[in-house]
């Protein structure tokens, strides 16, 4: 075996290195210096993120390893970097939370689990063989269950963890079932070989369609597409806030990209036959149902859960576009979504840490007591709703543009439905803004100064929201490297 092919996996190795250092630090350093664990891991991770911008990674050539099971390219390296950025922000945001009495003793585990799941996502993204894919998928999702259960003293956390783990395993069982059909039909688990076999084969049959439906539902579960989304709200609500934010952006982002890779590379040739219409249905359902549920939510985390469901629907528009523009738009959307959603969660986390309030009523009049937090939240909401000049507008616009590129009437209808749904989503985002700025009620959240780490993370997010759209080179770069 040629060991040099490990060198292709630069980012994985880097991540492992960070993981190991954090792990060793956590295990072997004296108790009193563990207070700096969060800082240490964040700094280390930040260095690793910076590494992602080294030319060798940033413009990484198309390379494969392990006889084609693993592949990397500039796109893959960049989506990993995007996820890294999100993970970094989550880590910084989590510092304050990890410092709490009940969490403190286990905080090392939080960082380690987080890095592990990230590693799983890397594999998922880079996989060109379903074995590696499934390993990555499980590596990404199982530690998350543990993270969801992190606040084990809290009932909600427990309930969320049970719901997550049981449904997750169920969904991987379904996914594997579908996979077994695919294997039976094509005789291989290599993406490329499956695609070739499908192309050579006599087109389409019922078994393939069912298999495809199972595969899509398996990944759709991770992405929380309707009707595979039902775990989402409960888990988001129950999990500790940093975990929720991690789940909602990074996990979702990775799944979305992996979904794209699987659908395009493996099932690309049966696009118009099979999964185009499936996705139409899923997208409409996802956006609409997500929005309808989000309208009524009073708990901020649950609210954002549903909002993230509908956002997933928009992300899927990039998949359905089935072209380079779609891929770029999808990555860009994920990037923007990371910043916007993490800003929202950052504010929620900050308020929760200081006052324990997570309901929308508690945000009434927030602007009077905590203007900056309220302002940040507003930016996040506007960005999520797709209001210019914030980044969310650009990402939405590009994703719609890329979808319409296909040009059929059906896609116009689909986009129109999606656009009409943006009105509904704007409504509930504005509800938050209304609570903070317009409501006359006295704020129940006293004025406070949030922790340094929280503020730092929020500044990053605000910077991202304001600049990502206007600074066009980011999107241009993504579009350039997309295929």
């Amino acid at each position: 075996m040629d060991y040099s092919q490990f060198l292709v996996m630069k980012q994985e190795i880097g991540l492992l290195a960070v993981f190991l250092i954090v792990f060793l630090y956590d295990t072997f350093m004296p108790k009193r210096s563990l207070g700096a664990l969060g800082t240490v891991s964040s700094v280390l991770f930040a260095l690793f993120v910076a590494y992602g911008f080294c030319p060798s990674v940033f413009d990484s050539p198309v390379e494969t390893a392990f006889s084609g099971m693993y592949a990397t390219s500039a796109v893959i390296a960049n989506i990993k970097t995007i996820l890294n950025i999100g993970a970094l922000i989550v880590m910084i945001q989590a510092m304050r939370w990890a410092d709490q009495d009940l969490v403190r003793i286990r905080r090392g585990e939080f960082y380690e689990l987080l890095l592990t799941t990230l590693f799983g996502m890397y594999l998922m993204i880079s996989a060109r063989h379903f074995l590696l894919f499934i390993i990555g998928l499980e590596t990404a999702s199982l530690p998350l269950a543990a993270m969801v259960a992190f606040d084990k003293h809290r009932y909600e956390s427990r309930e969320a963890a049970v719901k997550y783990v049981l449904t997750a395993v169920f969904s991987s069982a379904i996914f594997l079932m579908g996979l077994s059909f695919v294997y039976g039909l094509t005789g291989s688990l290599y993406f490329g070989k499956i695609a070739t076999a499908l192309m050579m084969g006599d087109g389409i049959n019922a078994l393939l369609v069912v298999a495809l439906a199972f595969v899509i539902s398996g990944i759709g579960f991770k992405l929380s597409l309707v009707p595979f989304h039902l775990w989402t709200a409960d888990v988001y609500q129950g999990a500790p806030t940093p975990v929720t934010s991690y789940l909602s952006v990074i996990s979702k982002g990775a799944a979305a990209f992996a979904f794209l890779v699987v659908l395009w590379q493996v099932f690309g040739c049966v696009y118009t036959f099979a999964w185009e219409w499936m996705l139409y249905a899923l997208i409409i359902l996802t956006i609409t149902i997500g929005n309808l549920f989000a309208i009524r939510q009073r708990n901020m985390k649950r609210f954002l859960a549903f909002s993230s469901i509908s956002q997933a629907g928009y992300i899927m528009l990039g998949v359905i576009a089935f072209n380079g523009m779609g891929m770029a738009a999808l990555m860009y959307y994920i990037l923007v979504y990371i910043f916007s959603n993490l800003a929202a969660f950052g504010v929620i986390g900050a308020i929760e840490n200081n006052s324990g309030k997570v309901n929308m009523e508690d945000y009434n009049g927030l602007y009077k007591t905590n203007p900056r937090l309220a302002f940040t939240m507003m930016l996040a909401m506007f960005s999520l709703a797709g209001i210019p000049p914030f980044a969310g507008f650009f990402s939405k616009f590009f994703i719609f543009t890329s979808a319409i590129n296909q040009g059929s009437v059906a896609i116009y209808v689909l986009v129109l439905i999606a656009l009409i749904n943006t009105i509904v989503s704007l409504y509930y985002y504005l509800l938050v803004v209304k609570a903070m700025f317009i409501s006359d009620e006295e704020s129940t959240v006293a004025t406070f100064r949030s922790a340094c780490s929280e503020r730092f993370a929020l500044w990053i997010c605000v910077g991202g929201i304001l600049l990502l759209g206007v600074v066009s080179c980011i999107y241009n770069h993504l579009l350039e490297i997309s295929f």
């Binding site: 704007l426 999107y475 579009l479």
Partner: protein, 502 residues
């Protein structure tokens, strides 16, 4: 990039935003707002003069000061700017209203800083919209202009402000949903097969490659999209509630400028780019806009809230704008643009005055007020002038605009257009009815409320604001040919050549 004059229409508001963010007290805020608005006004006037000079020198390009800076290169999205007579007129309108709006909200309370921040952000959008000739940036600025409304109404508004603000925002966003789809659709048909797609208006016009089938789909999308903001029946209901709840300066900007975005967009995008569909489908929208003209006027007759009256009157007048645009000939379109100018100024004047009156009497119900002419003669006289402008008295702007529209509309000799033109003409009578009803009840007659006797007349900033507007209204009314020439040149025959009209 900064050598182009147009870019300063966006840069100055951005500087203002920065300046406002640094302000510590109300005086500085006012200073920044007024200085910025003055700078913008000066800039637009200078632009006007320079524009006229260039035209006089024989420059016949459809747009002047065009420039384009690549933004999202791969999608061919550029920050493309350029103006023609219409845009110049709109820029002047916007800057004047921003200036007077700043004066009108001299004593805004609470949170003056935030108020002006949002107001300036809104005007950034407006200015950006008018200078853009790239569909993407146009749309972006359009939305930038919409969203601050929510907070401006929600925080500083009055009455049922939550409901109104939400309704306004959602309905307008609903319009922009259609719009976005239409614009993206246009993009994908912007160039013939094999050539790079473009967002640039001028290039799309030159390519003329949107085939008719697609036009039938995209034209309604864009027209309705902009039409919602232009308060087209039946998508106008955001307007009365929104205006009624909005604070003074916001009503001014909204009715004065934002609603013009709708008409401008309908012309600049829907009709300019898709003339064939416009020709074929105009009848549908003519019916709708014709209805909104009389419908708004009739509705205004029975309202009792001053702002509702004005809002419905805006529906009527803006309906006339769209109506005229759909007539698809130079005269009517010139009239439409003049009506935009005229309506912008006089509605701003109206709303400013209503705000000032409301600030004193704390009611807008005309049944509870009366005889204000005796109490606050200055404001009352201004109100009468605004009313006269609105009902189309010669010498003020409304007359010129309406007459141009009617003459233009009358150029269509078929029964359908005739009937609708005459229906639209009827609105001038109905307008007279409701304007005089208000004037009679509000300003004349005996004083209704004893407490009002102690109220004071206008302060200096209020006078500045109203007088500026009145002068502008009268300027258009007295020297219409200047503006008509400015606008008319824009309607290059090429648009109408497609339709087969002159």
């Amino acid at each position: 990039m900064f050598s182009n004059i147009l870019i300063y229409f966006v840069v100055i508001p951005l500087i203002m935003l920065g300046g406002l963010a640094l302000c510590r007290n109300i005086k500085q805020i006012r200073a920044v707002a007024v200085v910025g608005a003055l700078a913008l006004t000066a800039l637009s006037v200078w632009l006007l003069l320079d524009y006229m000079q260039l035209r006089a020198a024989g420059n016949t390009a459809p747009m002047l000061y065009t420039d384009s800076w690549s933004w999202f290169g791969p999608l061919n999205i550029n920050l493309a700017v350029g103006v023609d007579g219409i845009s110049v007129a709109m820029l002047i309108l916007s800057s004047i209203i921003l200036l007077t709006g700043s004066f009108a909200s001299w004593k805004i309370n609470p949170l003056p800083k935030e108020f002006f921040l949002w107001l300036v952000l809104l005007s950034t959008g407006v200015f950006g919209f008018f200078i853009s000739i790239d569909l993407f940036t146009m749309f972006m600025f359009y939305e930038v202009a919409l969203i601050p409304m929510y907070l401006l109404i929600g925080v500083w508004g009055s009455g049922n402000k939550n409901y109104s603000a939400m309704k306004l925002t959602l309905m307008l966003m609903g319009g922009s949903a259609f719009l976005m789809l239409g614009l993206i659709g246009i993009y994908y048909h912007s160039a013939p097969e094999g050539q790079p797609l473009t967002w640039n208006l001028l290039e799309i016009v030159n390519n003329a490659s949107i085939d008719k089938g697609w036009q039938y789909f995209l034209f309604p999308m864009t027209f309705v999209g902009f039409g919602v903001l232009g308060a087209m029946f039946p998508f106008h209901t955001w307007s009365p509630d929104g205006h009624a709840s909005a604070p003074t300066a916001v009503s001014m900007l909204h009715a004065g400028v934002l609603m013009k975005l709708g008409g401008y967009g309908c012309f600049r995008v829907a009709i300019y780019l898709m003339p064939e569909a416009a020709q074929d489908l105009a009848w549908i929208f003519l019916i709708l806009t014709g209805i909104s003209v009389v419908y708004g006027a009739f509705s205004a007759c029975v309202q009792t809230d001053l702002k509702y009256i004005n809002a419905y009157s805006s529906v009527s007048h803006c309906g006339l704008v769209l109506f005229a645009i759909l007539m698809l000939n130079t005269t009517a379109m010139t009239g439409a643009i003049m009506q935009m100018l005229s309506h912008g100024l006089m509605t701003a004047l109206f709303f400013a005055l209503i705000g000032m009156i409301y600030g004193r009497t704390h009611t807008r119900d005309i049944r509870l007020m009366g005889g204000l002419m005796k109490i606050m003669p200055f404001l009352a006289v201004c109100y009468v002038i605004a009313g006269m402008a609105s009902l189309g008295l010669p010498g003020l702007s409304g007359f010129v605009a309406e007459m141009t529209i009617f003459v233009g509309s009358f150029e269509h000799a078929d029964m359908f257009h005739r009937v609708f033109t005459i229906v639209a003409c009827c609105s001038i009578v109905i307008t007279a009815v409701y304007i005089l009803r208000v004037v009679g009840k509000l300003l004349f007659g005996p004083v209704q409320d004893e407490h009002h006797l102690s109220l004071t007349d206008a302060e200096w900033w209020e006078r500045t604001s109203t007088v500026t507007l009145i002068i502008s209204v009268a300027a258009i009314g007295c020297f219409p040919n200047f503006f008509a020439d400015l606008i008319k040149f824009t309607f290059s025959p090429s648009i109408f050549a497609v339709i087969g009209m002159n």
